[in-house]
């Protein structure tokens, strides 16, 4: 036992005390952090503030004033804030994180939330600017109803919707040039009278006529969409008004109701959290998969290294092959466990910071560790056997390919199993040796209750698999460690199992 411990300690330190391991452990989270923080910023590199005018030829005379009002500075800022609030509400609904509301003054109403409280409104406003770009400077120019649309249309070609704000030499905005820029026509709306008011001979149920909308090339699609939305709204309002209806009243009457969706469970009602229900089990399984494979890979390469550097026989003069194999498996397993604990710990810290810790149940973490041990011993015994059988890493590839294929299966099963965690397919997969630890982690950490007997049975099958594989690989290991020369194939390995 002392020898196994000595070997395990060396195997653990030989990996953990290297720069490569420390860097390898840090780089993935760093890349992820960079992607999470930097990528949206890069994507948010909005084109310069859109400055210009919207020309409207309004033959009804009812739409233009409303549109002018809709593009006043106040209204545009209000729309921005509403949009941002909607997006925040969506985030809150899906993740449970309350984002600050930039339209509310004073200390945040949601002060119980430390993250929200930390973000005071000016900062939140700046963040909104950051997230959504600056408010476009748009003015609505109402042209006489008899203006030639074709002639005006050609003016759109002269516009440069992406022109940067002109600056004077000293860096301040050049107001005279900006004034010219404001006059450039970015869009032309041609609204026939029939779009708003029905022709005298039309029936009540007939559709209204449409309208024409010309835009300058390269105009920001978000701005175009906003203008179109506002034009539609102004036209509907104009229709309501022309029918002597109270616009605000009708608007509030046709407001779409909001549904507070909850799932009824035995433990009480809870908010539906679909994204989390899919992602948390996926994260659990990926964590398991990654830590098992990192450790397995280290075991494979270190076994091959001992063979190719011929240190193996020196070691075998001091220990038995079984002691060596068990010591190595335990030592590299500790590496895998360290990876698992560090990453899971980082994940749990992130969830604490986001006050979403209730997404994971503590017993699932315990199950994760149990299934880690099973999955690791399965992979490790395969890696130890292969590592001992070959002399060079390149020779191991031929033997690794089928094993890798089998162990990729859990990744492919993620979606089908998560869609129906208690379906026949998921239940059958829970009892298939080699992949069942991964499948069970996926099912247990999902939202549905898994029958206790299935958990017990899957652990039992897992342990049986481990016992069988460790037994077989111990035999291959004993024969293989001193075999040099032609790399063996699977039938040779089977012969070694029978022979030893």
């Amino acid at each position: 036992m002392r020898k196994i411990f000595t070997i395990a300690v060396r195997e653990f330190l030989a990996v953990v005390a290297t720069k490569g391991f420390v860097l390898g452990l840090l780089i993935p989270p760093v890349i992820m952090a960079v992607m999470v923080t930097l990528l949206p910023r890069l994507m948010n590199q909005k084109p310069p503030t859109v400055v210009g005018s919207i020309a409207i030829i309004d033959q009804s005379g009812l739409v233009a004033p409303r549109l002018t009002d809709a593009f006043s500075k106040d209204q545009m800022e209000k729309r921005r804030a509403d949009k941002f609030r909607e997006a925040s509400a969506e985030v809150t609904k899906r993740t449970g994180v309350a984002l600050p509301d930039p339209t509310k003054g004073g200390p945040d109403a949601n002060a119980a939330n430390p993250m929200a409280a930390a973000m005071n409104n000016p900062i939140a406003k700046a963040q909104m600017e950051q997230a959504m770009g600056a408010v476009p400077e748009l003015t609505v120019v109402t042209l006489p109803a008899d203006t030639n649309a074709d002639a005006t249309k050609t003016q759109l070609l002269d516009a440069n919707p992406r022109a940067a704000l002109p600056l004077k030499d000293d860096g301040t905005p050049d107001e005279t040039k900006i004034a010219t820029l404001r006059k450039q026509k970015l869009m032309l709306l041609v609204i026939p009278r029939e779009t708003v008011v029905r022709a005298a001979d039309a029936k009540e149920t007939d559709n209204f006529a449409g309208y024409q909308l010309f835009t300058a090339p390269r105009l920001d699609p978000e701005v175009t969409a906003d203008i179109r939305d506002q034009a539609n709204r102004a036209i509907i309002d104009a229709r309501l008004a022309s029918n002597q209806l109270d616009v605000d009243k009708v608007r509030s009457l046709v407001e779409r109701p909001t549904a507070d969706q909850q799932v009824v469970t035995a433990a009480g009602e809870r908010k539906q959290n679909e994204a989390a229900a899919m992602l948390v089990p996926g994260a659990f399984m990926f964590l398991l998969w990654m830590s098992v494979f990192v450790a397995g890979q280290y075991l494979l390469t270190s076994t091959i290294e001992e063979k190719s550097s011929r240190v193996m026989e020196v070691l075998l003069s001091a220990t038995s092959p079984l002691e060596l194999m068990v010591g190595k498996i335990i030592g590299k397993g500790a590496v895998g466990l360290l990876v698992l604990v560090l990453y899971a710990g980082a994940g749990i810290l992130a969830l604490i910071a986001a006050t979403m810790l209730d997404l994971i149940a503590w017993q699932n973490v315990v199950f994760l560790l149990v299934y880690f041990v099973i999955a690791y011993f399965i992979v490790a015994s395969l890696m130890a056997a292969i590592g001992a059988a070959v002399t060079e890493l390149a020779e191991a590839q031929a033997l690794m390919t089928p094993i890798n294929l089998v162990l990729m299966i859990p990744m492919l099963l993620w979606l089908p199993i998560m869609r129906n965690p208690n379906g026949t397919f998921a239940q059958v997969c829970s009892f298939v040796p080699l992949i069942n630890p991964f499948v069970m982690v996926l099912r247990i950490s999902g939202p549905e209750q898994i029958p206790g007997w299935q958990i017990a049975a899957s652990i039992f099958i897992g342990v049986l698999t481990v016992v069988a594989l460790v037994w077989a690989s111990a035999k291959i290991f004993r024969v293989g460690v001193l075999m040099y020369g032609k790399p063996p194939n699977f039938s040779t390995l089977l012969r070694w199992v029978r022979m030893a």
Binding site: R10, T18, R310, S317, A318
Partner: protein, 324 residues
């Protein structure tokens, strides 16, 4: 009591008979050389003694136990296929091996440092093993095999790859262990090393034991048939060849080896030469183990090619002798 007792040991690899009904015993405290050409079965025999591989039939007894597996901590083993962890520091590697061999924790660092000093590697303890030369690595491996003060030391080709200085150092270390009472068995195909060190020599050829005796008795078994002469004045080879009873003459550094015909004893030849040619040196050539080795192997060599190879091998090891 025998430290090692092999009885009817047989091992085949596939169709090749590697060790064929081998019997020998190693007395406690003795120093035995296991010699034989490449592929004779030396390493296979040693691996079976070490229970790294297992015999098809026959019995092994090591230090009174049925296998070395039960007494690993009493045995020191320097394998033929030896290596070090390339990335590990020398001191850390030896500490690890010492711990694996159950050296008491309080002793470990004292022994590691003591041994490194003894082999003049004290300044390398903090270096990575891969920074060491091959000879230095070999010394580290030797330390690894004896750091736990074993009762029995088995060295497989300990001298291969060592320069003369290190070869001598290793020989003196082996000698020290021997005088302390350690049983030592080492394999080599360099006869000179075996001749200089061993109490007893066991020669294996094609898996069979062909010799088992002390070096001097082995030499005596082989009747010397040649006389070495270093003439005072230069004389042609033909002058010697013309003498009666001479079979053939061979020129060697500074003189000639004169081979007597089978009917002539070497002593007669000595007298005859002394009378015929004034000589600064005149002596009966004692057969070296190399000659014995070649003689035995030649007898069973199946082709001319194999013979030529052996001659080359013998000549190579003969030239090693001068350096050692």
């Amino acid at each position: 009591m025998s430290a090692i007792q092999l009885t009817n040991l047989t091992k085949t690899f596939g169709t090749k008979l590697a060790v064929d009904n081998l019997n020998f015993a190693v007395e406690e405290g003795s120093l035995i050389g296991l010699i034989g050409p490449n592929g004779a079965g030396k390493t296979t025999t040693i691996r079976m003694i070490m229970s790294i591989i297992f015999p098809d039939s026959g019995q092994i007894s090591v230090l009174g136990k049925a296998s070395a597996g039960e007494s690993k901590d009493l045995i020191g083993y320097l394998p033929e296929e030896r290596g070090v962890y390339k990335k590990m520091k020398v001191g850390a590697f030896l500490t690890y091996i010492a711990r694996l061999k159950n050296v008491p924790e309080s002793e470990v660092s004292r022994r590691v440092n003591g041994w490194l000093e003894r082999v003049a590697l004290a300044d390398t303890a903090k270096k990575r093993c891969e920074e060491l030369s091959k000879g230095m690595q070999q010394k580290v491996q030797f330390i690894a095999s004896v750091i736990h003060q074993p009762r029995l030391v088995i060295l497989d080709e300990p001298f291969s790859g060592l320069d003369p200085v290190n070869s001598r150092l290793l020989r003196s270390l082996v000698h020290d262990l021997h005088t302390q009472g350690t049983t030592i068995i080492f394999s080599t195909h360099q006869m000179s090393q075996a001749e200089a060190l061993c109490d007893r020599i066991v020669m294996i050829h094609q898996g069979k034991k062909v010799l088992d005796d002390t070096p001097s008795r082995i030499r005596n078994q082989f009747d010397p048939r040649a006389v070495f002469i270093e003439p005072v004045d230069a004389i042609p080879e033909q002058a010697l060849a013309a003498l009666p009873g001479v079979d053939r003459v061979r020129e060697v550094g500074g003189g000639f080896e004169v081979f007597a015909k089978d009917s002539e004893p070497a002593s007669t030849m000595l007298a005859r030469l002394a009378a015929a040619v004034p000589a600064t040196r005149l002596e009966v050539v004692r057969p070296s183990l190399e000659d014995v080795f070649i003689d035995i192997v030649k007898g069973s060599a199946s082709s001319d090619e194999e013979l030529a190879e052996l001659e080359a091998l013998a000549r190579g090891s003969r030239s090693d002798t001068s350096g050692d």
